[in-house]
């Protein structure tokens, strides 16, 4: 079969698509994770909680598919990344899965009994289902930046030499908190367009402002730690960007401060960290002016900027090894085959627009603010 795009280009496209998927996940399921983390704080009475829950109830299932698709697409396009990260971060993955499983059942089961003890238990579960994944995803990204302790043997079997507690260092915890702050800001912004004016929305605005400020501070602090710390790598010797996907055939070496090198070579990339810092300011302005959509746009820009910053800083690295630099996974050595990348690109080009179209249709059909009155009267509400 003749493949009209060369291997190097396809790898680059799939690196961009990886970013698009992660951003898609953070933008959409970010509402739900953020709202769930905010639930105990912004909503106090049962009715208020139901109002908040019903602001995300019809959407979370669709949003969560971004995560499932992310898993599937990494498997299909970056099998090394899928295998190394998921088995390496084994217990952390379990924490995420267990809390994510709690989330949907909390939505569904909470409303089935009026008993306040039953409901507050599920509210707690819902909070865990939002907060824990948000934290662990951030910690995981922190570990991707610092590098993970893995190596390959000549059969490309990976061994991992870390532990669950080893994942938590000051820098990775900071990344985790940044992720929580960012998604709480986003959840609050979603509430700002999705529920009627009232005490809940007031509290959401307050928390949204705090989360936006925390996002700026933590993101800036993370940047300083990257600049001053020992993180960073660079490729060594001749790089065959269209070569076989075999990490052991390429060479990478540690380069402290290396995660900033791309910005010197390509100053346009600075747009990502700038969006990461300006976005939360816009969100705060939106809160101040009581413009929900401005709040949401600022928050979305911040998420795009922050996630893109990670990707662009590390390029071409995707998952560096902290114990065996040569095992590090890059855009040029960790993808699936030329043919698979091409087929998956076609499939994506056909179906992703369809998905976006019907998601937009659903959003439109279910548009409008959730009112307390509706919470009391609609029999379909949780």
């Amino acid at each position: 079969m003749h493949i009209p795009l060369d291997y190097e280009t396809l790898r680059l496209i799939w690196w961009v698509l990886l970013g698009v998927l992660l951003i898609g996940f953070a933008l959409t399921d970010g509402y739900d994770l953020g709202v769930a983390s905010l639930l105990p704080f912004v909503a106090r009475r049962d009715e208020e909680r139901r109002q908040v829950i019903n602001a995300i109830a019809p959407h979370w299932e669709g949003h969560q598919v971004w995560l499932i698709l992310g898993g599937g697409a990494i498997f299909a396009a970056w099998p090394f990344v899928y295998a190394v990260s998921f088995s390496g971060f084994y217990l952390a993955m379990f924490l995420v899965l267990a809390s994510l499983i709690l989330r949907p059942v909390s939505f569904k089961y909470r409303s089935k009994h009026a008993d306040p003890a039953w409901r507050s238990r599920w509210d707690m579960a819902l909070f865990v289902g939002g907060f824990v994944p948000a934290l662990v995803f951030g910690v995981a990204v922190g570990n991707v930046l610092t590098g993970a302790p893995f190596r390959f043997d000549s059969d490309l079997r990976m061994t991992y030499e870390g532990s669950l507690l080893g994942l938590f260092t000051p820098f990775t915890l900071l990344a985790g908190l940044l992720s929580v702050a960012m998604l709480m800001m986003h959840g609050a912004a979603w509430l700002a367009v999705k529920i009627e004016d009232g005490p809940v929305l007031e509290r959401a605005r307050r928390f949204g402002r705090g989360a936006a400020m925390a996002t700026i501070v933590l993101f800036a602090l993370g940047g300083v730690m990257i600049a001053k710390g020992a993180m960073g790598m660079r490729l060594d010797g001749v790089v065959d960007a269209a070569g076989p996907s075999n990490p052991l055939m390429s060479a990478s070496v540690g380069a402290p401060g290396g995660w900033l090198a791309n910005y010197g070579a390509h100053p346009w990339m600075l747009i990502a960290p700038i969006a990461g810092l300006v976005g939360p300011l816009v969100a705060m302005a939106g809160i101040g002016m009581r413009r929900g959509w401005l709040n949401l746009a600022g928050s979305a820009a911040a998420i795009k900027g922050i996630i893109a910053t990670v990707g662009l800083s590390m390029f071409p690295f995707i998952l560096p090894s902290s114990i065996d630099p040569r095992s590090s996974l890059t855009v040029w050595n960790a993808s699936s085959s030329h043919l698979t990348l091409f087929i998956m690109l076609i499939v994506t080009c056909v179906f992703l627009p369809v998905v976006l179209a019907y998601t937009a249709w659903v959003m439109k059909m279910l548009a409008g603010r959730i009112t307390l009155g509706e919470v009391r009267s609609n029999p379909d509400f949780y």
Binding site: P58, G71, F86, A114, V355, D380
Partner: protein, 520 residues
């Protein structure tokens, strides 16, 4: 390789997959039954059908949510617990999973929200379209995951690449149009339809026995008996047999199911019952029907079905050939330009997976002696007694469903479901499709052993490099979490059924939200 890690990883995968598949069949079938019921509502505009659709929709929702939640585990488990598998075949296996997400999961998950929350916001036709898209999405997801699973049973369209030490796709359409995958898809979704039809029959029978909601129950039973009969016939008739003669490993699975130790002259007989004896390699007390196996298996009077001993000899040959390929790959690791090694690899590459079977006994397959090779060849035989009995149990249940729905279909016109013994039988039937379905999966996956991917990668090489305490932690964690959720789920299901097709789930508001049913 630490065998404890392998066995625990298999245990965890089996537990999570079988648990996940408690919810999937009902989702597959009930979604289509909702389409049928809602279509009747849209065509007749009779409010009773709206009540019926919404009632079964509520039960669908309780079930759907756990299917989605536990499916998440499945999507990631190949990476967490089967990392070397994920690396080794990810180039092929990952694609259907990603397409499943893009094409099916998004559709069902996005639409299900509108299905539940859009009753007041959509027109009747729009809502029916949404319900149809949910059903389409769930069934498409079954298609893609079975294309992935079908490839594990019959890995076509791929070959080993020594430069990347993994299987890579060579012909994507062969992966897509894999006959094993197609047979599996029809078999699996039909089983899901039977499961949903039996569920609707049983719950409705409970109402009829109690004399409650009879106008909902009787109509639901009409839909379920027609849908169930068609599906039960489809499960058995278009069953799983069609792919069994394709490859050596599929042949082995068939031989193990039938406990056929030796090749019989065509057309072979079928063993109805018996007692397979692994040590003596024979089946005691066998009651055989002549010709039937040959007819079913090959659809001809002359086609030969290989016995286990014959297939083991073939495996032995392929191991010898695989060792040559393995040696060539090891030489290519040192010198990628070694032309002699490349030529040897090309000749023997389709058997390289068989050399890997030896890694259970020796680190380097090239150092294995003849005795070890014979042992490894016998490893290709799955657990014969388990296969033999599971299959008979499953197939027996399958015929039972045909009889049950045939009876139901007759009852629908002859007695309008007024016979109490039939209603009691319908309630008793509720769990049986789940039993048959879980047996079917165990049969399919035990029958694939010792392979993760038939002839390509042995299961024991596929696992991640984890430790025993790590896997115990997650097994305990999943068991506790899933166990708790199962208890809650079943109690909620029962509570919702007890409550019946009332329109509000809040006890305090149920009086106000009560929808009186129109008279018959």
């Amino acid at each position: 390789m630490d065998m404890a890690v392998i066995e625990l990883s298999r245990l965890q995968f089996a537990l999570t997959a079988m648990y996940h598949f408690l919810f999937v069949p009902l989702t597959l079938g009930l979604s289509f039954m909702l389409v049928i019921m809602e279509s009747i509502y849209v065509i007749t505009k009779r409010p009773i059908w709206r009540v019926i659709t919404r009632f079964w929709g509520k039960l669908f929702g309780i079930n759907f949510v756990l299917g989605v939640a536990t499916g998440l585990t499945m999507e990631f488990e190949f990476g967490t617990n089967w990392a070397y598998y994920a690396h080794y075949v990810g180039d092929i296996f990952g694609a259907p999973l990603a397409i499943e997400g893009l094409m099916a999961f998004f559709l069902e998950a996005t639409m299900v929200g509108v299905m539940f929350f859009g009753w007041d916001r959509l027109s009747r036709r729009q809502h029916l379209l949404v319900t149809l898209l949910v059903a389409l999405g769930t069934n498409l997801s079954a298609l893609w995951i079975l294309i992935a699973n079908g490839w594990m049973q019959n890995p076509t369209g791929a070959s080993f690449n020594p430069a990347t030490m993994r299987m890579e796709v060579t012909d994507f359409s062969a992966v897509l149009f894999n006959p094993v995958a197609q047979a599996k898809f029809v078999h699996t979704v039909s089983a899901g339809y039977v499961c949903a039809a039996t569920f609707v029959m049983g719950v409705s029978a409970y109402y009829l026995l109690r004399g409650k909601w009879t106008n909902v129950a009787r109509r639901s039973m009409m839909v379920a008996s027609a849908f169930g009969l068609a599906s039960a016939l489809s499960v058995v008739v278009l069953g799983d047999e069609s792919g069994y003669t394709l490859t050596d490993n599929q042949k082995m699975k068939l031989a193990a199911i039938e406990a056929m130790w030796e090749t019989e002259p065509a057309p072979a007989s079928i063993t109805l019952v018996g007692l397979p004896d692994v040590a003596a390699r024979t089946t005691h007390f066998a009651i055989k029907l002549p010709y039937v196996m040959g007819l079913i298996g090959t659809r001809s009077l002359t086609g030969q079905i290989d016995g286990i001993e014959e297939l083991v000899l073939k495996a032995d040959e392929r191991i010898h050939s695989g060792v040559i390929a393995y040696d060539a790959v090891e030489r290519l690791k040192i010198n990628r330009a070694d032309t002699a090694a490349m030529a040897a690899f090309e000749t023997h590459k389709r058997d390289i997976g068989f050399a890997l079977l030896l890694k259970r006994y020796v680190a380097d397959p090239r150092k294995a002696d003849e005795a070890t090779i014979t042992k490894a060849a016998w490893d290709t035989v799955p657990n014969v007694p388990v296969m033999f009995f599971l299959f008979r149990f499953m197939a027996g249940l399958g015929f039972g469903f045909i009889a049950f729905f045939g009876m139901a279909f007759y009852c629908a016109s002859a007695c309008q479901f007024r016979k109490r013994w039939f209603l009691k039988l319908a309630i008793f039937m509720i769990p049986l499709p789940w039993v048959a379905i879980e047996f079917g999966w165990v049969l399919a996956e035990i029958g694939r052993q010792p392979w993760a991917v038939d002839g390509v990668l042995p299961t024991f090489l596929g696992a991640s490099s984890l430790t025993v305490p790590q896997i115990w932690t997650t097994i305990f964690g999943f068991t506790a979490l899933y166990g708790t959720l199962a208890v809650i789920e079943v109690r909620l299901m029962i509570a919702s059924i007890r409550k019946g097709p009332v329109e509000h789930h809040d006890e305090t508001a149920s009086e106000a939200g009560f929808a009186p049913l129109p008279a018959e």
